[in-house]
């Protein structure tokens, strides 16, 4: 299941989840930014927990729930609080790290709903951004925490 909808395909053993999402599922928001599991651009939720989808085989996701940034907004298009916060705080520039950064941030707040700034920075250490200097990303995550994610649309995906 990807973003609540079934996606079925016969895949090579070695196919990475990120390539499955981009090619088989046609969901291109999730990006590949490195080849060493360092940058986090490919971060998605697997059964509600963040994973780097470049380091998960597509076959390992068989029968599990995958959520990408395309599945985060509500069915009526209402932005998820994290998406809203990234926009309000200018937490993105070129946008390439953004889908992964947003998913990592969603996961971070699920684990720690009220993080300090240092905890946000530590939680996002595995996600590189080259544009923002992280300043506004950190502010966005703190703002989303302030707002509370409980009322978030799309959370039922879990």
């Amino acid at each position: 299941m990807v973003n609540g909808a079934p996606v079925a395909a016969e895949v090579e053993d070695r196919l990475l989840l990120v390539h499955f999402l981009r090619e088989a599922a046609g969901l291109t928001a999730t990006n590949v930014g490195c080849d060493t599991t360092s940058c986090g651009a490919c971060t998605v939720l697997l059964d509600g927990e963040s994973v780097k989808s470049c380091t998960v085989l597509a076959a390992q996701a068989d029968g599990r729930q995958v959520t990408t940034v395309e599945g985060l907004a509500g069915p009526d298009g209402e932005l998820h609080p994290m998406q809203r916060a990234f926009r309000a705080e200018h937490g993105l520039q070129c946008g390439f790290c953004t889908p992964g950064m947003v998913m990592a941030s969603v996961s971070l707040l699920r684990e720690n709903p009220h993080p300090t700034e240092a905890e946000v920075r530590a939680g996002l250490e595995g996600n590189l951004c080259r544009c923002t200097g992280y300043h506004n990303i950190v502010r966005a995550v703190l703002a989303a925490a302030e707002e509370g994610l409980g009322s978030a649309p799309g959370e039922s995906v879990r």
């Binding site: 080849d35 360092s38 200018h90 200097g133």
Partner: protein, 751 residues
């Protein structure tokens, strides 16, 4: 009230946040249906002759469409014949690890990686040259037909007597290390040859320049080439040039008659996208014990990498900005650009100017340490006075506007400099392991220094909607928001009815692009001027419709309504006016060319803690003034500063692209290259200051690179300041824990 200067959140973002951008490798368009994948075969050796290439095994690999080498490229113009010419694909010699030797074209991506490993290239190794001094000595030459690895020189050594009369002269040599630009999206391209036209989709900062470069490279008229820049995931200067890899992709589409795609891996990106900086500086600074600096000379050795790319012009920018913010009786510089067996050097955020600033800001601190003066005080005593503008430097730059002392004082006040020095003194007195360091940099830089203009076309259609066509081409900066603000400010048409088109040479045939912090001051001014022309056209049309005098008409920019002043019965909407505008409609084309570049300036104060037991430096505060003239949208301007500061701090603390003596890259993945993360940075403290320029009517200068230029020397100086009391005078960048620890140990040993 004008929207200009207000905090407007970006109109780009909802799409980027919900569906993701459409970067080159995301394109799912009919033109690319059935596109084959290209995988490059790179040299694993820094310097070698190619004695043979066997493609047989690769051709037999599953899914392989073709394996192409230089021998297949007989359908394009030959190179220019210079001895140091850089080939598209290496034919008989490779000069750096990562140089492209062949391409494998496959049905699917994974097949390409398999097949690329089966291309057998026979290499006859030659000695590599990595060290600057070896390269300068020329014992091994990279190119036959040359007698030196030095490709360009400029400037002069300090003349005899230049430092006469100085009570103190300090000289020191230090590197400004090689960096990887590292946009999160690496290079990517897709191409299609159909109906006699070659279309290239590419991650580029300038579609029009790419079109011309591609047309020349493959031997087509520019009219037969279309270049489209989809969303671009960062560039930082490294996507200005049209790389050979991109040209090869486009050529392959034409050669094979089949659409193709290519996206590089991060490993390929670190090896094959231009690197930045890579200079070695020797500074000589002289002055008196009262703190007056009299003379400064900068000698630059520029590592060119294996082929002459940016190294031909980057040291010239360093020379131009060598004197920084200081009023010096003598300032001179000289450079030599020298080839080495490494990735060629190109523009990276700041491109020659951060190097100039790093050199003189380090030199000023070395001089201050020598005479025992506070780094803030020495800057106070030597910066160009506010009444001296326009100020012509010894290198011939004409600084337009500035107040360097005010920027410095603002940062000192904002940070609480006096209190920080007191805290530093307390920690030193206590002698604990964690010491405090304060680092200053006062800087000036040049933006829109390329001398080119920028285009804009503004059209109001019969629905009252606006389309802006700009030659400027964003890769994260927020052009759509910024340019729409300029239009709505003048026309009163809401932002959501304004579309900004860029990066497609069929829609915007003329333009330059986004680099050198040029977009708002050139592209924005062009949009502004075209918008005013459209408004003047509308006034004429509306006056005729109402049968009133143009001088009696007013446009309410809150509502976008034209009417005779004080007479609502005459009200006309933009749609009504545009519908009556005749066959040409309401449309204006402008190419704006500024009379001169602009010179943003500022001051940075970095506060670091250094654990003297481990050598680990942690940036805990960073306070800046970055004055780029009038601010259009503080949200965007601050974002540029944030990103710039992070990249600047990264150079001071962490990042370095390294090669071993045989030319093997040591930092070729993100597991090795120390890209800065959120944990290594604090939130930044930005102070506002706006000194408008008179070079354009918006009063704006460039903000894209300023943060990087100021941050590197501020953070670098702070680390050294933290351990200065232990006897440390200098530490090379990046000031890694190992280097800081070694400097402390060495100082203890010599004490």
């Amino acid at each position: 009230m004008s929207i200009l200067g207000t905090r407007v959140v970006r109109t780009e973002d909802p799409r980027l946040l919900t569906q993701g951008g459409v970067y080159t490798d995301d394109l799912r368009i009919p033109e690319l249906d059935g596109a084959a994948r290209i995988t490059f075969v790179h040299s694993p050796i820094a310097h070698a002759r190619i004695t043979g290439i066997d493609t047989g095994a690769a051709l037999a690999s599953p899914g392989v469409v073709a394996v192409l080498t230089a021998a297949d490229m007989d359908d394009i113009p030959a190179g220019d014949g210079r001895p140091t010419a850089e080939p598209l694909l290496a034919a008989d010699r490779v000069r750096y690890v990562g140089e492209a030797v062949a391409i494998v074209v496959t049905e699917q991506g994974y097949q390409g990686e398999d097949a690329a490993e089966l291309v057998s290239v026979d290499y006859d190794p030659l000695p590599a040259v990595v060290d600057f001094d070896d390269a300068l000595a020329g014992g091994t030459l990279l190119f036959d037909g040359t007698d030196s690895n030095v490709i360009r020189t400029g400037g002069e050594p300090a003349p005899p007597g230049a430092f006469d009369g100085c009570e103190v002269v300090v000289q020191r040599t230090f590197p400004n290390q090689r960096l990887a630009p590292l946009p999160l999206e690496g290079r990517a391209a897709a191409a299609r040859w159909a109906d006699g036209r070659l279309t290239l989709w590419a991650s580029t900062q300038n579609a029009q320049l790419a079109r011309d470069a591609l047309a020349a490279a493959v031997g087509l008229d520019a009219a037969a080439v279309r270049v489209v820049a989809p969303d671009v995931g960062g560039g930082f200067g490294a996507k200005i040039a049209t790389d050979r890899d991109t040209i090869i992709v486009a050529w392959a589409a034409k050669h094979l008659g089949r659409p193709v795609r290519w996206v590089e891996t991060r490993n390929e990106n670190l090896l094959g996208m231009v690197h930045g900086r890579a200079q070695r500086h020797t500074i000589t600074i002289g002055g008196n014990r009262d703190g007056r600096i009299l003379a400064y000379h900068l000698d630059i050795v520029q590592d060119a990498g294996a082929y002459p790319r940016g190294a031909t012009f980057l040291p010239g920018l360093t020379q131009l900005m060598a004197s920084g913010v200081y009023d010096l009786a003598y300032c001179g510089s000289a450079f030599r650009s020298v080839l080495t067996s490494t990735m060629p050097i190109g523009a990276y955020r700041g491109a020659g100017r951060p190097e100039a600033t790093a050199a003189i800001e380090r030199a000023v601190d070395l001089f201050a340490a020598e005479i025992g003066m506070d780094p803030a005080e020495i800057r106070r005593r030597n910066v160009v006075a506010p009444e001296a503008f326009p100020y012509t430097t010894p290198s011939g730059a004409v600084y337009d506007t500035g107040d360097y002392a005010a920027a410095l004082e603002a940062v000192l006040d904002g940070a609480g400099y006096k209190e920080l020095r007191e805290e530093q003194a307390r920690r030193r007195a206590r002698g604990g392991p964690v010491q405090l360091g304060l680092g200053l940099a006062t800087y000036v830089e040049i933006t829109a220094g390329d001398g080119g203009g920028e285009t804009a076309r503004v059209v109001v259609d019969a629905t009252g909607a606006v389309t802006v066509y700009t030659g400027s081409s964003p890769h994260g900066q927020g052009h759509q928001t910024a340019f729409a603000m300029l239009v709505t400010d003048q026309l009163g048409i809401p932002m959501d009815k304004i579309t900004v088109i860029h990066g497609d040479t069929d829609q915007v045939p003329t333009g330059i692009g986004t680099f050198g912090s040029r977009s708002l001051q050139l592209g924005g001014t062009a949009v502004h001027q075209a918008t005013i022309q459209v408004k003047d056209q509308a006034r004429e049309v509306a006056a005729a419709m109402i049968e009133a005098s143009e001088t009696d008409l007013e446009l309410d920019t809150a509502t976008g309504i034209w009417q005779v002043r004080g007479d609502p019965d005459t009200a006309l909407s933009w749609a009504e006016v545009a519908a009556q505008a005749g066959p040409a409609g309401l449309a204006a084309d402008v190419e704006f060319r500024a009379d001169s570049p602009t010179f943003p300036f500022g001051a940075h104060l970095a506060v670091v803690e250094v654990d003297t037991q481990t050598g680990k430096a942690t940036l805990i505060r960073h306070v800046t003034v970055d004055d780029a003239g009038t601010v259009l949208n503080p949200v965007l301007a601050e974002g540029q500063r944030h990103g710039g500061i992070a990249q600047g701090a990264a150079q001071a603390l962490l990042e370095e692209m390294r090669y071993d003596p045989e030319g093997n890259p040591l930092t070729s993945t993100l597991a090795d290259y120390a890209a800065i993360t959120a944990t290594e940075l604090p939130s930044f403290e930005l102070l506002a200051m706006e000194t408008p320029t008179s070079v354009n009517e918006l009063g704006v200068k460039g903000i894209g690179e300023a943060g990087t230029i100021g941050a590197t020397p501020a953070v670098h100086n702070a680390v050294i300041d933290a351990v200065a009391h232990l006897g440390v005078r200098h530490i090379d960048m990046p000031a890694t824990p190992q280097r800081v620890w070694a400097a402390i140990s060495e100082a203890k040993g010599s004490a």
